[in-house]
Symmetry: C2
Subunit: 441 residues, 2 copies
């Protein structure tokens, strides 16, 4: 193999944080990349919404005609970094149908259209890589699809959204409330002007759908993911978490469940949860991401690193691009599924979990017993109860606060118990309800 090998042509769609880093690496590391691929990697053009002369790239490489760029005969691989679902989907399908391999970082798209895109790649016998769609620079897709291809994954739990992890870490370390931690994250550029996609868990849900699909060799879309955001997490929750030896993290959890009759179901869910401080995810702070994978033979693995940002995400894109280019040069294709199962999705009520409930109650005898009875009626076993009196500003006792941590029960039984508690006369308010991660008691 020599450098006289026919070059591999690349079209990059999108020139934001990630796209500009990918273009920089393609140009600055040309010699190293050529050595690793076995042929030069040549940037044919960059597709943008509007061509302008101030982008730090020679203007003749820029085009707003994406359809034409993708169709060029000298483009072998299309790198899609435009987002959101459209027009990215249309451009990727066009590329695949014309026999070009595709690398994408588009989680929203991969979370709804994996089946369609994988089929188009299969029909054209080309590669479709999407490592950068989950957890930025951290290799997660490749370990799940390749390294664990001969093992059986049982569970994936991760911190996959840097914005919410920054906010929750800030609340934990400074005692700040949600609103001021969000304001800090915005000021530092960690949160967008409209933070909904992050704080309501939509971004994490898309990643959970992708992780569940590849971990369990089935199809899970973002619509299948149960989702709760972090907007209701309060400083009171963090105080209680500390008292319990925990912190609070927004988790994306994917699980394979086997019923007593041997039927397999899949659960994918995103919610804030109490995480014990000795759990490996508890120490993942700020804008970092981490994913814990549990497999039958491998046991527990953890992958940790920067989950967002131009350069880290570009690293993942470049890894995929080099693989796709090598396959072009050497023949062959990257791994993909031959068969996908269609495992049913387990509804959230079915999931075994643990709850933490924090409530204000009237300060009189029999209250704790009434509260405990509601748990008992639904076969929910209590692991820990703490009760403390509360005084008002004048120093008068005016009620009590009860914190309950349960053993494992179904989410439905736990959620019904909380509703019933809210209806009790002696319960003044339910201050906070959180699930608890990391134990199976």
């Amino acid at each position: 193999m020599t450098d006289s090998q026919k070059p591999i042509g690349v079209a990059v769609l999108g020139f934001g944080n990630v796209g500009s880093q990918v273009v920089r690496i393609i140009e600055q590391s040309a010699d190293d990349l050529a050595a690793r691929i076995g042929a030069p990697l040549v940037l044919r053009g960059v597709g943008v919404r509007r061509v302008a002369d101030d982008r730090g790239i020679s203007i003749d490489k820029l085009t707003d005609n994406i359809e034409e760029l993708v169709s060029r005969d000298d483009v072998d691989i299309v790198v899609e970094l435009m987002g959101p679902v459209e027009p990215a989907r249309k451009a990727i399908l066009a590329a695949l149908e014309q026999g070009k391999s595709v690398v994408t970082a588009n989680k929203a798209l991969m979370a709804v259209s994996t089946g369609e895109l994988a089929q188009a790649a299969e029909n054209a016998r080309v590669d479709l890589y999407f490592e950068a769609s989950v957890a930025g620079a951290i290799p997660v897709i490749r370990p799940l699809t390749q390294s664990l291809a001969g093992d059986s994954v049982v569970r994936v739990a991760g911190i996959v959204n840097g914005t919410t992890n920054y906010i929750l870490s800030e609340m934990d370390s400074t005692g700040a409330d949600y609103a001021s931690a969000l304001a800090d994250a915005s000021a530092l550029g960690y949160a967008e002007a409209d933070p909904t996609a992050d704080v309501e868990g939509y971004d994490a849900a898309a990643k959970a759908a992708i992780l569940a699909s590849i971990a369990f060799h089935t199809r899970v879309s973002s619509n299948d993911v149960y989702r709760e955001g972090i907007t209701k997490v309060s400083s009171v929750d963090f105080e209680s978490a500390k008292a319990l030896g925990c912190t609070i993290k927004l988790l994306a959890i994917c699980e394979r469940l086997t019923s007593d009759e041997g039927q397999q179901r899949v659960s994918a869910r995103v919610y804030p949860a109490l995480v014990p401080l000795d759990h490996p995810l508890a120490a993942v702070n700020g804008a970092f991401n981490a994913v814990v994978v549990e497999a039958e033979a491998a046991g527990r693995l953890m992958f940790y690193g920067q989950g967002a940002g131009g350069a880290p995400t570009a690293s993942a894109v470049m890894g995929d691009l080099v693989m796709a280019a090598r396959n072009r040069v050497q023949g062959g294709r990257g791994p993909r599924e031959s068969k996908y199962a269609k495992l049913p999705i387990a509804p959230i009520g079915f999931i075994p979990t643990r709850y933490y409930v924090n409530m204000d109650v009237a300060d009189r005898t029999g209250v704790l017993s009434a509260v405990a009875a509601e748990f008992g009626k639904r076969d929910v076993s209590i692991a820990e109860v703490r009760q403390e009196g509360m005084v008002d500003e004048g120093g008068q006792r005016r009620g009590a606060r009860i914190v309950v941590v349960t053993h494992q029960a179904t989410d439905a039984a736990l959620s019904e118990t909380v509703s019933a508690l809210a209806d009790l006369d002696v319960v003044q308010s339910i201050n906070s309800v959180l699930r608890m991660e990391g134990t199976t008691e």
Copy 2:
């Protein structure tokens, strides 16, 4: 693709902890594996040194004629789990020359013969996979060769030997001395009857050679790795480590160094080092492994999990086996280097690092000044000094102990300073010298 696809035949060489788990998974997960590969995976035979009827496998699958098993026409992939270097090398070369793909967990072999074996695989256009040779179940080889293929790795630092990590974790948590922690590790089966390969760092050095080779796209053999074991680490070292906010870990470190003139060199080294408690490797305890990778675009990544044991290592072997089998079914080959650099190895004296020195000195004026002068003469800057008086059993002062932590300097300058200190009249003994990880000051 249907199940009527021609089956992929597998020969497993070796039937110990890992081999028996691999055979179990091939047989118990046959349906899942066939779906993922696109063809059934069929075990043709297991090569062992001596055939016996008590192995939990039908005896007609066992053979002591490894040459014949490897040569069978219906064997497409050979899984080598025999160790050590020979006869594994001969069997692998024979397999590759006959056009069979090879999966191996043999670190000792891969650390000395990568070039030869990679060339044989290249000539035959078949796959050679070795994920299980480093850090058991933890995907490290694949992320380095694939996920980071478009990035530039600067440094790899890992805990890659479970036996020594168990011993050091035990010394840290219980205050035990080396001998009794080793005895505990032996009693629990974490250390072998002859623990030399582990405690003297040979096992970690083989892994460092493999990691350096693939991280920097060059050839590094175990003989190129600077190596110190843990046998001299004492409970005094751990006391000092704690006072400095550190623990002690046996680290395998691979680094790419660029001289002022732009010349690139590679360093691979294994030694016990002080690790600050806020460093991600400090929390990796017991028989667990972890590898931290720093790359230019990706930043810092960490991979964590079980580094040894039959089932975890089998998980890594099975991932490679499924990939090799998929490539057989679908055409194409896994990734491999088109070009390897031959970067020179940087001698240990050249490496910038920090030292911690613990010494007993005479208790009289001017001693600290004499000690500090030896550092100053070699341009080694001192970061921290602690001096305390020592009393003998009768309550009499009989000397002082000085602990010095340096700023960064070359290993040669630091090592010369320690030799010079040992020659000073006022220095009674050098109790301990350790390098320090995790800071670049």
